[in-house]
């Protein structure tokens, strides 16, 4: 078992690396800026090694229960109104696995960034000027994410949760001089904040009902205590707290109706999209629900909400992915859809399965994004309409992306197949679900999403890598180009080794992580269902009928994509107006962004509520404040008149004061 200090170092080392880059390298050592990436990789890599040791320790003897440390206490402890704030590390198999995924993927992405950001910053001004800032954000993001994962206390978790949001904001807006990036960063921050408000309400509701915990001698904010107390809580408390937390999770994990920020977040550097908006941060919501699953389990309402939102989002987002032309946006919709899968799994009562899918998804989705980055490195555009035929000069990128795509589509025996199969099997059986009808419903939703997933990912692969080259950045109309990239040209070359290596490593995981980690049979050193057992859960029984069905559905999706975009034997154009209507609906993303931004924000809020609030603020609030200020200043001035400086006056003041008090008390008798 890991000593506690080492567990803190999992958070501390990336933090140290980030602080070193920003506080030492950036101001003092210009000549060493190019090594900022190496500093970040060293810090994250060390955290990764420690996380692996933690996973190993968690395998042996279960939960590593470090005692939490008291931070501060308010009121009398144990009393109705007192509570103690604690901080600590909660290192159980779940958080150990998550920490290993976060630090591992982060390390690989930072290696990739060494090559990718080299070019991006070099082209900007011939220096390494973006390096320290970029790798500082990356390291601090990783530290925050690890802090979230290892938090012992819900408030501690919330602090890191917000820090993760902050660094996500900074990284999306990394190229802050591009208006689109700045707007996307703002949008991500604000939309997730709406969810976080729900999170906060959940925490407050927990606080208001802390009596139920103190009666049991538990601290209402300690995560293990919440899990212990969950069966004893009154139903309303469990439901409302769980729903509040789920609102936060839905914001962070971009679930309907808070999904709109994630596609826009692709304005950040591609490795950022890969790390944050595919593999780790967006998974924080899934992790949160899995972390507090014991609480969700106690509320059928919360479980059904999670399952239905997850299932709906899986289909809804996949549908939007069908029509997108930007390679990163397709992947972003895919991420939203896959996260929906994970919530669906949580909602039907299988947190271990959800974590298994998260685990696999982290690898293959990260791989796909890095592949997109690699392509961009060559053709300098993300628009698939201007790609095509790239496989000819980027064989490694092509093959690894193909592997990632097959894994995402859920083709046997790649990683994605195994976890998707477990999700479908669990939903079908409904044995852990709060409501078997809901479970059946989401099974069909998941199957539909599987079909769309296979279709859009092969549409992507065919449009980008097959067919003839359609000119890359050189064909993009000037008005559509990002100003920074206006001067770029296509270079037909494969990416450098530092970029290929992460692709290959991730490709190995995208193939093997599913089968090896949670195999049906013993595989030498890895026992059968290692992953499930590590999380103290039984894997659902393999169901050959469901496996065959889902594979057929996926193959059908791939086949349709090949027929439409590869051989062009099938075309939708014959479907006429209905098709055009659906297509426009998908391209416009179901008009959700328009609804939020134009209708709600611009019309209802700007012209309605905000105008009223503005008037109220100016006239009433400011008026009262001004009056108070005026009163304060003038009464101060008036009292200061007494302060004449004459000591006689002071003496009289003292005597009168004593006399007044005496008389007052005498009169009371």
């Amino acid at each position: 078992m890991l000593p506690e200090a080492a567990a803190w170092l999992i958070i501390g080392l990336p933090l140290l690396a980030g602080v070193f880059s920003i506080a030492v390298l950036r101001p003092w050592r210009r000549s060493l800026w190019r090594y900022a990436g190496h500093v970040g990789i060293a810090g994250t890599g060390a955290a990764f090694v420690l996380s692996l040791i933690a996973v190993n320790g968690a395998m042996g003897n279960g939960d590593a229960g470090y005692e939490p440390h008291a931070w501060f206490a308010v009121g009398a402890l144990g009393a109705q109104d007192g509570f103690e704030m604690t901080v600590g590390i909660f290192l159980d198999p779940l958080s150990a696995i998550m920490a290993a995924v976060v630090s591992g993927v982060s390390m690989v992405v930072q290696v990739f960034s060494l090559g990718y950001m080299r070019k991006e910053s070099d082209d900007a001004n011939g220096e390494w000027s973006d390096y320290p800032r970029y790798f500082t954000y990356m390291s601090l993001f990783t530290a925050s994410m690890l802090g979230l994962v290892l938090a012992y206390n819900l408030i501690q978790l919330f602090v890191f949760w917000e820090l993760v949001g902050l660094f996500s904001y900074l990284l999306i807006g990394f190229w802050y001089h591009r208006p689109a990036a700045a707007a996307a960063a703002k949008k991500a921050f604000i939309v997730t904040r709406i969810g976080d408000f729900g999170f906060m309400l959940g925490i407050l509701y927990l606080f208001l009902n802390r009596g139920e915990f103190t009666a049991l001698g538990l601290n209402p904010f300690e995560i293990p205590a919440i899990l212990d107390a969950a069966p004893m809580l009154s139903a309303g408390v469990a439901t409302w707290v769980a729903l509040g937390l789920f609102a936060g999770a839905a914001g962070k994990s971009a679930q309907f109706p808070l999904h709109t920020w994630l596609p826009d977040a692709m304005e950040g550097p591609t490795p950022v999209s890969s790390l944050i908006h595919a593999a780790t941060m967006v998974a924080a919501g899934v992790f949160l629900v899995a972390r507090l699953f014991g609480l969700f389990e106690e509320s059928a309402a919360a479980m059904n909400t999670v399952a239905i939102i997850g299932g709906f989002t899986a289909v809804f987002a996949a549908a939007m992915g069908l029509a997108a032309n930007d390679i990163k946006r397709v992947l972003a919709f895919s991420t939203v859809s896959q996260l929906g899968y994970m919530f669906l799994a949580l909602g039907v009562g299988a947190p271990g399965v959800a974590m298994f899918h998260l685990f696999n998804h982290a690898f293959f989705k990260c791989l796909l994004f890095l592949g997109a980055g690699s392509v961009h490195h060559s053709v300098h555009t993300f628009d698939m309409r201007y790609m095509g035929g790239i496989r000819r000069w980027m064989p490694i990128t092509y093959l690894t992306t193909l592997v990632g795509g097959l894994s995402l589509a859920g083709i046997f025996p790649l990683a994605g197949f195994w976890s998707k199969d477990e999700i479908l099997t669990t939903a079908w059986s409904g044995s852990h679900a709060a409501n078997s009808g809901v479970s059946q419903l989401v099974f069909w939703l998941a199957l539909a999403a599987a079909f769309m997933t296979a279709f859009y990912v092969f549409r992507l692969i065919i449009m980008a890598f097959h067919d003839d080259f359609r000119g890359g950045i050189d064909s993009v109309p000037h008005e559509e180009r990002i100003p920074d990239e206006a001067h770029h040209h296509v270079h037909r070359h494969e990416s450098p080794l530092v970029m290929k290596l992460p692709l290959l490593v991730l490709a190995v995981f995208a193939v093997g992580s599913g089968f090896v980690a949670n195999s049906l049979v013993d595989l030498g050193p890895v026992p059968a269902h290692w992953f499930s057992h590590l999380l103290h859960e039984d894997a659902p029984k393999f169901n050959i009928a469901i496996a065959l069905t889902s594979t057929l559905v996926a193959v059908a999706g791939i086949g349709l994509a090949v027929l439409v975009y590869g051989t062009r034997t099938v075309s939708f154009d014959g479907l006429g107006r209905l098709w055009r209507f659906v297509h426009r609906l998908l391209v416009q993303r179901f008009y959700m962004d328009a609804l939020y931004e134009d209708l709600i924000v611009r019309r209802a809020l700007y012209r309605g509520l905000f105008l009223v609030s503005d008037w109220f603020d100016r006239r009433i609030v400011d008026g009262v404040a001004d009056l108070a200020g005026w009163l304060g200043r003038n009464s101060g001035r008036a009292i200061a008149q007494l302060q004449t400086g004459h000591i006689q006056v002071y003496g009289v003041g003292v005597s009168m004061g004593a006399a007044v008090i005496l008389i007052f008390y005498l009169m009371q008798r």
Binding site: G636, I647, G651, V654, L662, Y665
Partner: protein, 503 residues
């Protein structure tokens, strides 16, 4: 009864400090090196600290002990205040070592007087009968009169000294008059019981209420007159009028010492008197202190808004903070459960330490910021954010702390004080305190704005700070932030100290 070695051990901190002060003054005959003076003074304070720590262990093992015929009581409550006073004195002396240059050739006398006054304050915290309280109070006050008037070449310090002398004489008269009533009513001087078994005021009043001359009237008059007397030291309205004049006129380090050490010891003795001697009496002291608290902080804050001199503003800020601290006293004197009393006392003790850190940081920063130009107007602080980054930062942190913004100790301290008030049923007082904190933000943040957002009017060259000044700024700022983040340790110590008084 003679003096035993045990008695001497029990006042060893004060003895060490007195010896140290004497040595410092005598050293002035030999050498006028200010470094030597400082080293000797710090040595004396270090020995004082060592003895105080030894006593803490002793008290921890054997319980509170009385000395010198029960005239002194050494408990953790007294020792907590002693640590605070000695620590404050040390920081003030280090910070003023550069400033003391202008006292030449009387630097060693200045240092010696600070130490003498500190010894008086430490005795005051441990005083167990009325006479000892009075004598210690005078021992603490008289050196300050000389200190306030130390720069005799200017009129303002002399005015400050004279005002302090005359008004402290008036307040002493009130105090003694009050003590006379208390003695007359109870027949004893004893505030805290000791080994001799002489009855304490509380016991005397508890047993023989019918025998008390004039009934409870004499007790009431005594308590109120004593409050008036202590009110002078506490800067409590309406006995506060000297405060701004003296803070402005006296040398800045003296202001720092007055605002922190002197106030801490005065609060300690008020708590002891009203909790131990008058806690059982039927009169409602809580309402008195609550009303005084509300008036004191409101007047302090309102008048501070219109000030234009930084030191004078800090004087009004000290008045306002006396009001916040009185919230704790009101909570303690409210008739409640024992545990809540301990919480109230510990919140006052905690705030005294936090307030000392914040006020010292503010005064030390003002020492640095004004030392070259001597211009103490708030306007003169313009551009200091660039001209003296460390001192400006320290002043900003201190002022935010005094406002009560997290994560400073000021926030935590106010939280504990208001919490104590709410637990004692004084919700309205906590609300008044919170509103006052908002009002205070106006003038505190105003200074920060001037320092960082205004351009300097004339001279824009950097203002250098000596090593000693920088050191004390770092220490106090660190204390403000560290105690703000981790209040638990100090609060625990304060609780232990408070429980010494309660048991």
């Amino acid at each position: 009864m003679g003096i035993t070695a045990r008695d001497l051990f029990l006042i060893a901190p004060e003895l060490a400090l007195t010896v140290g002060a004497t040595v410092v003054v005598l050293s002035g005959l030999v050498s006028r090196q200010r470094q030597l003076t400082l080293v000797l003074a710090l040595l004396g304070l270090a020995v004082t600290f060592a003895f105080a720590i030894a006593l803490w262990d002793n008290v921890h093992a054997n319980g509170a002990q009385s000395a010198f015929n029960d005239s002194l009581i050494v408990d953790k409550f007294a020792l907590y205040i002693k640590f605070l006073v000695a620590g404050t004195a040390a920081l003030v002396l280090i910070a003023s070592s550069e400033y003391a240059e202008r006292f030449r050739p009387y630097g060693s006398e200045f240092t010696g007087l600070v130490l003498f006054s500190a010894a008086g304050l430490m005795l005051l915290a441990a005083a167990a009968d009325l006479i000892t309280i009075y004598v210690s109070l005078e021992l603490a006050t008289l050196p300050v009169v000389a200190l306030a008037a130390f720069v005799r070449t200017r009129i303002a310090p002399i005015e400050a000294g004279v005002k302090y002398l005359l008004l402290s004489a008036v307040s002493s008269a009130f105090l003694l008059y009050g003590f006379a009533f208390l003695y007359g009513a109870s027949g004893t001087m004893q505030v805290v019981g000791g080994s001799s078994g002489a009855p304490t005021i509380a016991q005397a009043l508890g047993e023989g209420s019918p025998d008390v001359p004039f009934g409870g009237l004499a007790i009431m008059a005594g308590a109120i007159l004593a409050t008036a007397g202590f009110g002078f030291k506490l800067s409590m309205v309406p006995f506060q009028m000297w405060t701004p004049d003296v803070y402005e006129g006296a040398p800045t380090p003296v202001g720092a010492f007055l605002a922190t050490a002197s106030k801490a010891a005065a609060f300690a003795v008020v708590l002891r008197l009203f909790y131990e001697a008058l806690g059982g009496s039927s009169a409602d002291w809580s309402t008195l202190f609550a009303a005084l608290a509300a008036i004191t902080m409101t007047i302090g804050n309102l008048v501070a808004i219109v000030q234009s001199n930084v030191k004078r503003l800090l004087g009004y800020s000290a008045i306002a903070h006396a009001g916040y601290l009185l919230i704790g006293v009101a909570a303690v004197t409210a008739h409640g459960q024992e545990t809540q009393d301990a919480a109230g006392i510990s919140s006052v003790l905690f705030y005294l330490a936090g307030y000392a850190a914040m006020t010292l940081a503010a005064f030390f920063a003002v020492i640095v910021l004004t030392q070259r130009s001597g211009d103490e107007r708030i306007e003169a602080m313009a551009g200091m954010g660039k001209r003296a980054p460390l001192a400006a930062l320290a002043l900003a942190v201190a002022l935010l702390g005094l406002t009560g913004i997290p994560p400073t100790v000021g926030f935590m301290g106010k939280l504990f004080l208001f919490n104590a008030a709410v637990n004692s049923g004084l919700v309205w007082l906590a609300v008044v305190g919170a509103v006052n904190s908002v009002v205070s933000a106006y003038y505190y943040v105003g200074i920060i704005r001037t320092m960082y957002l205004r351009e300097p009017a004339g001279d824009a060259s950097p203002v250098a700070a000596a090593f000693s000044g920088r050191l004390t700024l770092w220490i106090t700022v660190a204390a403000i932030l560290v105690l703000g983040f981790w209040p638990g340790g100090l609060l625990e110590v304060a609780r232990t100290a408070a429980s010494g008084l309660v048991s």
